[in-house]
Amino acid sequence: MMELLQTLHQAGQGLFGPLWLPLWTLVKIVAVVAPLMIGVAYLTLAERKVIGYMQVRIGPNRVGPYGLLQPIADGLKLLFKEIIIPTGSNRFLFVIAPIMTLMPALAAWAVIPFDVGMSVANVNAGLLYILAMTSLGVYGVIIAGWASNSKYAFLGALRSAAQIVSYEIAMGFALVCVLMASQSMNLGDIVRGQQGGAGLFGWYFIPLFPMFLVYLIAGVAETNRAPFDVAEGESEIVAGFHVEYSGMAFALFFLAEYANMILIAALTSIMFLGGWLPPFNMAPFTLVPGLFWLLSKMSFVLFLFLWFRATFPRYRYDQLMRLGWKVFIPLTLVWVVVVGAWMQTRYWLW
């Protein structure tokens, strides 16, 4: 596989000359984004099916066998719907907001390593780049809420802004622990740091277990998913920041939410669950390509997202803020010190 890519790369260089680099990058981007979009489409179906079974229902089963064509039907429906721009809204910002939500969710994928040396860009400060990109996602929500010229949308935007900024701090400190443990900000090196004879016991979720939980929960909060979906809060503020959006503009918010979920799942797998590494360092496991392991870990984390949604009632807003500021941030701060001290002793085995 890798050799084939190498020969293709070399052949392309000979054929296109200086134009090859942008072309090759474009190919790589398409190779990441196209499966991602299909993944998003089928994640919506998976969500409805999983939650359906958890609630003793069947879920969508009319369009195609087992409802497998449901996402396509949904997409077509949204595509043909009219985009209504409310009077008194800020037209330019109203249109640009969904794009600004989706853009960082896709841009962050540039540094995700799928296997050894398999990433669009191998950036040294990859972890920082990820943090920067995920922190940009909030703009779409705020701008959407403000430009809609609607009270519910505005309330949703304010809630979302406060929530995302608060949880970002805890998330950042959890990542500080990861980069302390791996001594690198390169995502590929972080996975390599978890490599060893011990298999899954070498992954960072064992020494950094509290951080793993904090990251996972903060990730749910960052993506505005239940039980932290106060930005949407159907029962309180109708649909929050995207209440005025219809058709494809709404679909973009939807896409961004699910793309963000997949991104958080990928990041959790890479930083805490060993990325492309097999769980046991033995023959049948090491023969399977690394991409399979990464995807199965991502599926597991995504299943957790759906499971949370089916299980927990929505957090009240003040409880959510309390959890972020008074529980997670002190916990992560303490764990930074603990990891720092632990690494100076000889009991640090990772």
């Binding site: 922190s135 940009l136 403000w146 406060a162």
Partner: protein, 211 residues
């Protein structure tokens, strides 16, 4: 003109345009959003200088956190534009003098041949880590200035909260520690009662079910 120069001029033009719009746009929310654009294009320029740590930190800290809070506040304000523009002519002279002084300082520092004479940017190899070098310098050679700056920032933060924080008397909040500490015995009392003899009261079991 190579590709990098083109990218530089695009980002530079974008920065200047955004910065101008920050001070000329009438709507404060638009102004804040143009400031975000200015930060982003500035980060692009820093990226061209191979200062990737600074560029990403600029986006992470200023765009991702500071400007979000800024927008948060600006959006909630009900700003009267007429009132804002009232003192324009009165303060124009003072503002212009200040701006001139700042421009003079910048030209003086950046334009002086002594500082930059003989110094050219060195191109580093791809494996050169800007972040590591910055960290090494900050925590060895410049550790005292760095720590002092951190303490000053912390002080400013605490002071800002202390100055603006007002405790409302009518606010109600939950004492979570007390809620967690509650035990079953504090809230619930189980009483043992002898069962009633229903047959004596003339109620048979079918009537009981119907009720």
């Amino acid at each position: 003109m190579n590709f990098e120069t083109i990218v530089f001029y695009v980002f530079a033009a974008l920065t200047v345009f955004a910065a101008l719009r920050v001070i000329t746009s009438r709507n404060p929310v638009h102004a804040a959003l143009f400031l975000v654009l200015a930060f982003c294009s500035m980060a692009g320029i820093w990226m061209l200088l191979e200062a990737e740590f600074l560029a990403i930190t600029l986006v992470l800290v200023y765009v991702g956190a500071v400007m979000v809070l800024f927008l948060f506040v600006v959006m909630m304000l009900d700003i009267n534009l007429v009132q804002l523009r009232e003192g324009f002519w009165r303060w124009l002279l003072f503002g212009a003098a200040l701006a001139g002084l700042m421009a003079f300082e910048m030209i003086w520092v950046l334009g002086s041949s002594r500082i930059f004479a003989g110094r050219i940017a060195i191109k580093h190899a791809a494996d050169y880590s800007n972040t590591k070098e910055l960290g090494r310098l900050m925590y060895t050679d410049y550790v005292y200035p760095f720590e002092i700056a951190a303490v000053i920032l912390l002080l400013a933060m605490v002071a800002a909260i202390a100055l603006t924080f007002r405790r409302r008397k009518d606010a109600k909040s939950q004492a979570v520690a007390k809620q967690v500490a509650v035990r079953k015995a504090d809230r619930l009392r189980l009483i043992k009662m002898p069962a009633e003899n229903r047959a004596r009261q003339g109620l048979d079991s079918t009537e009981e079910v119907a009720r």
